[in-house]
């Protein structure tokens, strides 16, 4: 542990001069929003060349609508990834909660609050199980959430052969109402995102998540109950997936299973989180970046639809973008690994200047 941290010597002298202000340097979140703007501009130009307008109202609505479901899920996924965990069950939780929500509401407007509560409650319970299996049974998060996903799938496939329940018109508004160009669902998603940002930046729970993901041992030595933090993250993650399920139920006007869980939300949400600059290994990142990651994916989808590009090409490009983005982040990480050199290029020189850290070329993850 000592080793790396000792190595993390100052990047520049400027880094330590400023009393309050960190040096003016674009953070990862800044870069990802810049990339979002760049993609919007390029997309607008390309679409314009094709004789259409990307920024037309219907297209903006399309982009925002696309981003809301994945947005909900990715917000939760951000929390667990920050804790150095992972959730592969989110797609199944969304499916489950759409069915629980729709069957509980059963077309009755008066039962809407009950349906929402039931759906989110069931989702929270799944998250609790995920968290307990990971922390108490010490099962790797990958296997634990995959196992829970399979369990939910078995239940769904057995209990629900097709769509079930129905959503009253009043709740369908959640899926279709708009405030100006902003769909209600997107507005709610963004509100949840803001809540998540507050959670991470302004609550002890959020601080603990960063600590647990950053270094479990340091967190423990500082007296944090690390297990509890991981469990809370998983419960919240499942609840946002549950919210996504409710949104889908309102759009389908009923609860469905396979259509939701085979849509690939699990991997997509992880991709969006990582695209947003959160470290897969935990401890660094945030929801603002994740939202940008989700929006980038949505903009690409819309641009491709307008340009009538084969939807399959979208997958190809998406895969490539994710890899390239993470490779670029990795580059930045390496840059930071500057170490203090005692001697300059030609021997006895001023000490304390930056030099690239010695790297065994072989030793890489």
């Amino acid at each position: 542990m000592t080793l790396t941290q000792q190595a993390e010597a100052p990047r520049t002298a400027a880094a330590v001069e400023g009393r309050r202000r960190a040096p003016v340097r674009l953070g990862t979140t800044g870069i990802i929003y810049l990339a979002l703007v760049a993609i919007l501009v390029i997309g607008t130009v390309l679409v314009a060349a094709d004789g259409d307008n990307l920024l037309a109202e219907r297209n903006i609505v399309d982009m925002l609508t696309r981003s809301s479901v994945l947005g909900f899920i990715a917000i939760g996924q951000t929390l667990v990834i920050l804790c150095r965990s992972l959730d592969l069950s989110v797609g199944y939780v969304a499916a489950l909660s759409s069915l629980v929500g729709a069957t509980t509401m059963d077309g009755d407007p008066a039962r809407v609050p009950l349906g929402i509560a039931a759906a989110l409650g069931v989702a929270a319970a799944v998250g609790l199980v995920n968290g307990l299996v990971i922390t108490k049974l010490k099962v790797n998060a990958f296997i634990a959430t995959l196992g829970v996903a399979l369990i939910i799938r078995g239940y769904l496939d057995t209990e629900y052969k097709g769509p079930a329940g129905s959503v009253p018109d009043s709740f369908q508004n959640f899926g279709y109402t708009r405030i100006g160009v902003v769909p209600l669902s997107t507005a709610v998603m963004l509100a949840v995102a803001v809540a998540g940002i507050v959670l991470l930046r302004r609550t002890r729970t959020g601080y603990r998540m960063f600590a647990v993901g950053g270094n479990d041992e340091v967190a423990r030595l500082s007296g944090l109950r690390t297990d509890r933090t991981v469990i809370v993250a998983h419960v919240l993650c499942s609840m946002t997936a549950g919210a996504a399920g409710l949104l889908l139920a309102s759009r389908f006007s009923t609860g469905v299973a396979a259509q939701i869980y085979s849509a690939g939300y699990d991997l997509d949400s992880i991709a969006a989180v990582v695209l947003g600059g959160t470290l897969l290994m935990g401890g660094r990142g945030g929801i603002a970046g994740t939202i940008a990651g989700v929006l980038i994916l949505a903009v690409l989808d819309t641009v491709f639809r307008l340009l009538q590009i084969d939807p399959f090409f979208r997958d190809v490009l998406r895969g490539a973008i994710i890899i390239v983005a993470v490779a670029l982040y990795a580059r930045r990480q390496i840059d930071r690994h500057a170490v203090r050199a005692r001697f300059g290029k030609h021997g006895r020189a001023a000490g304390g200047q930056d030099a690239p850290r010695p790297v065994i070329p072989e030793a890489r993850a």
């Binding site: 080793l3 401890g283 399959f312 490779a327 993850a365």
Partner: protein
Amino acid sequence: MSHPATSPARTNRSAAVGRSALDLFAGGSGTVFALLIVVLVAITFLNPSFAEPPSLMAFLRNAAPLIVLAIGQYFVIVSGEFDLSVGSLVGAQVVIAAKLIDGEESRTWGVIALMLVFGLLVGLVNGLVTTLLRVPSFITTLGMLLILAGAVRLWTGGAPTGALSDSFRQWGRTGIDMPVVRQLPYALLIAIALGVAAVLLMRAPYGRTLLATGDNPTAAAFAGVRVWRVRTLAFVLSSLMATLAAILIGGFAGVSAQVGQGLEFTAITAVVLGGVVLGGGRGWVVAAMAGALTYQALERLFTQLDMPTTARPALQGVIIIAAVAYAARSRGHRPPPPAPAETANDPVPERVG
């Protein structure tokens, strides 16, 4: 640190030295053999004809592709990485084979060679992006999954076209006719041959280097191991195994757009069921193969129990979690893994002091 429940002999999972039967049934990889036997006995109890050679052979033929995939995934997991791209690689390879062979017998071998080259390339890209560009393998292979799935459907316009030739399909569906077992499936022979090769490879310098790299990449680098090469080769092996599995699956199950979907998770599950530890450095390739066989046997057991097919995943989920939790328990209270930056991500020897 040493826990009463974990005496050295019990947890010795090293393949370097001969192991006694006792070793097999103890510790992490022992679980899978015990479980396999229990499941097989249960199936036989429910359906005595299962133990008859012909039906046993049919079972093994069905299990062969997953065993092959598990061998490939084992190499990657034991080196400390993941390969999520194998499922879509299987799908891509089957579609490629169908489209390029297009029913022509004469093209069979040429296309198989081409598939192997393609598999090699995919593995090389996975490996080099992960090691040289330092992208976590979870992301690299997830990206590869999306790229392959998209590219293949793009190429075929959504629905696979063409047809496989009989000489291509024989590997997955037929075998050598002989008494007692009626037909010895090629798929089984291929899986056994690859299994033997894998065991030999793991006993060869490369195998030991691979294990050491997954265990402690920093120490491996100090010992002169070219960590990036060792890991890249593991990805290449995984992709080649996926290609061979694709040949078997294509022959057996035929061509559809869904071939291979979700197989990456099944393969990882099988390997983990075999007591191989995610994170690298521990596990026996034979146990990984047994994990694949156990997975298939469980599916078979569920059929035998007349369990609705739809409920099977649930039971699989329970069993996987239970098996891994049990293995984690029997490993005892090990110290928490060191922080990510040092071990997983950045095994660069640092200067100390």
